[in-house]
Symmetry: C2
Subunit: 227 residues, 2 copies
């Protein structure tokens, strides 16, 4: 699998909203659900994709856009799984933007896909401010980062459609209190489900995949939902 690279375009704020809307229109027309994955550095976005790829592959066709400031390391990890992947290098910028995603779509055969993962730059702050044209936004928080993060970085958690508590296998070695995070989350964002998950042990991966399948099945296909 060749890793394609796209260098970042200059982010023109005024234009980005229109570009995100156009991305959403293109994806919807092709029946592709786009998932914007956001977390701090090293919370396990790539590891989650690695751990779920084989099982997902049985049910859905998917590709990955890998956002990074430097290196193609994550894209190489995804390519090894035989999954189509495009590397998006931001050239120092701290988040992906809508034009970068829109350019990447031109390199994908959208008609062959059900699901498009967009792995954002590892950053709990800036990516939360940028609409990429995604359908859903997933916030990952590893238990090693501490249970105060939803309160300290509220925007991402407020806007998320799903919260993944990752590295749950390390829970016993930390002071992380799941009940505290759930309580904070319920104030910030009452409706987003919270999945406890470990890419290492496989715990929660089934729930994650079921949630993704549900998003694909409930997304706007061209068929009416009711006959």
């Amino acid at each position: 699998m060749t890793i394609q690279k796209i260098q970042t375009l200059h982010n023109v704020f005024g234009r980005d909203r229109a570009v995100a809307d156009e991305t959403r229109r293109l994806l919807k027309a092709s029946g592709v659900v786009a998932v914007n994955m956001i977390s701090g550095p090293g919370a396990g976005k790539t590891a989650l994709l690695e751990a779920s790829a084989a099982e997902l592959d049985k049910a859905l066709c998917f590709a990955v856009l890998e956002g990074d400031i430097a290196t193609t390391k994550d894209a190489q990890r995804i390519a090894r799984l035989g999954v189509p992947v495009i590397q998006l290098l931001t050239d120092g910028a701290c988040h992906l933007d809508a034009p970068l995603i829109y350019e990447a779509l031109k390199k994908l055969d959208l008609s062959s896909l059900d699901l498009l993962f967009i792995e954002n730059v590892g950053n709990l702050v800036c990516p939360a401010n940028f609409d990429l044209g995604e359908d859903v936004r997933v916030a990952l928080l590893s238990v090693t980062e501490g249970d105060d993060k939803p309160l300290k970085y509220p925007l991402l958690f407020q806007k998320a459609d799903l919260i993944v508590l990752s590295k749950i296998d390390l829970l016993a070695h930390t002071d992380f209190r799941i009940d505290a995070v759930v309580a904070h989350m319920r104030r910030l964002n009452p409706s987003a489900p919270i999945i406890e998950l470990s890419a290492r042990t496989g715990q929660g991966i089934g729930q994650w995949i079921d949630w993704l399948k549900q998003r694909v099945h409930c997304s706007g296909s061209s068929e009416p939902a009711l006959a």
Copy 2:
């Protein structure tokens, strides 16, 4: 200890360099060494200050500027130790800036201090671009974040005067390879020392404190270094 808050000023890029230089001048005139601490969210900046406060207190007088997007949680943790602390709220911004630090200095009695810790917003990307007027820059990377981070977020690690590998007590539960990080670091930044450290077990805290003492003793006091 009352926690003082300063809301962020609008960051005017052109002005920031001059403000950072003025901060540096003020600190030097008072013999205060300022340490800009940068890491991703939850790498343990506050925990490191908590773990070293009692021992540091025996040798040096210090204060803390706590940068956060929201909440005064970290400042409350520092205040509990009896350490002077000022909360800097960035109001959504992803990094501290020079004017915010300069304003905070006016609320400190610099003549009573040896050391000023500036705990930046948890973010491996943006804070690396901003000179706050500090003397030294410390990059923290927790072993749970993965050993690929210096290559993926090179700017911070290139510009750091010290690298702290934190949460070293969790090393056995991760795939983190210290030799890989050391090799990467030696290419990015050959001179910065690397301290392996755990705020939980106390491992490495002595080395960290020795490094800080060295910085204070070697900084430009008004006395000549040689008689």
